[in-house]
């Protein structure tokens, strides 16, 4: 449990370290004399590489650039939603439901077929 905060802190610290530019190799004319060698002639002043952290420097240099059309917006304009009633499948489903309703109503309400009725009493006899 103690290790976790340490690891998190280490990650934060590592993530926050400024990135240093790579060390440039020294130029041929600016080779530093080896240690112990006596310097006989003064060399011309040489700009020593200075490690500068890559951070923004204030004030920021803000420039106004000409507007560039957004590639994303141009490529995919907002598609207008098509009305539901203009889709053929909407009418297919609605028609099916309407037909089912009509058929069900007819089936439920229509009278049952009647038996043949004789021409003399008792006309129709029901047998269990």
């Amino acid at each position: 449990m103690i290790v976790l905060p340490i690891v998190v802190a280490a990650v934060i610290v590592a993530w926050g370290q400024p990135v240093l530019p790579p060390q440039l190799p020294p130029e041929p004319g600016s080779i530093a004399p080896a240690a112990g060698v006596e310097r006989t002639e003064p060399a011309e002043p040489v700009a020593l590489p200075v490690a500068v952290p890559m951070i923004a420097r204030a004030p920021l240099d803000v420039r106004v650039l000409p507007a560039v059309p957004s590639v994303t917006a141009a490529a995919a304009p907002a598609k207008a939603r098509r009305p539901l009633h203009k889709d053929w499948w909407f009418w297919a489903i609605a028609g099916s439901l309407f037909a089912a309703t009509v058929a069900t109503t007819y089936a439920v309400t229509r009278p049952e077929p009647l038996p043949y009725r004789g021409n003399i009493y008792p006309y129709v006899i029901a047998v269990p």
Partner: protein, 177 residues
């Protein structure tokens, strides 16, 4: 979305469409009785006693007669689905004297088979040769006059059956509507 929705809609509508043809047709036998006996000189009334099953109705069954206008006469016998067959006794009566009904001709038919959801017809001929003369009736042995078991039925033919109106509802067995 489209294809699946259409399939779902069609599947949902299919049972409703199928239900349109779901009414059962009546299971019925139409009894058509014809005779060369004269109305009202020979016979005046008709009675029929029906019992479920393959056996002859009991002789003490309730008997109600109806006046005959002319031959042929017909009665519809409808199954309610519990028994596959029925039996009956048809009688032609002379009721010139209301206090003394005479059986002129009697015919017993047993084990008439229903066919589910079909209306069939039983053509029953009651000829004069089978009529009783006074108290003397034909003896058993005459195939024309004898009892019939499991008679042949024919498809219902409106041209042979007397024209009638359809019944609004079933009558109880043997009882008036």
């Amino acid at each position: 979305m489209t294809r699946a929705s259409i399939i779902v809609a069609v599947v949902a509508a299919a049972p409703s469409l199928a239900a349109v043809g779901c009414h059962d047709q009546p299971t019925q036998v139409v009894l058509v009785v014809d005779s060369d006996l004269l109305v009202p000189a020979d016979v005046t009334s008709f009675s029929v006693t029906v019992a479920p099953g393959p056996f002859e109705p009991p002789p003490d069954a309730f008997l109600t007669s109806a006046p005959i206008g002319a031959f042929p006469i017909s009665v519809g016998i409808v199954s309610q689905g519990q028994t596959p067959s029925f039996s009956f006794v048809a009688r032609l009566l002379d009721e010139h004297d209301p206090t003394k009904a005479l059986i002129v001709l009697s015919k017993t038919v047993t084990d008439v088979r229903f066919v589910p959801e079909q209306t069939l017809m039983l053509l029953l001929d009651l000829p004069r040769s089978c009529a009783c003369q006074g108290t003397s009736c034909p003896l058993p042995g005459d195939p024309v006059c004898d009892k019939i078991t499991r008679p042949a039925l024919v498809p219902f033919d409106p041209a042979l059956a007397p024209a009638t109106e359809t019944a609004p509802r079933f009558a109880a067995e043997g009882s008036p509507q």
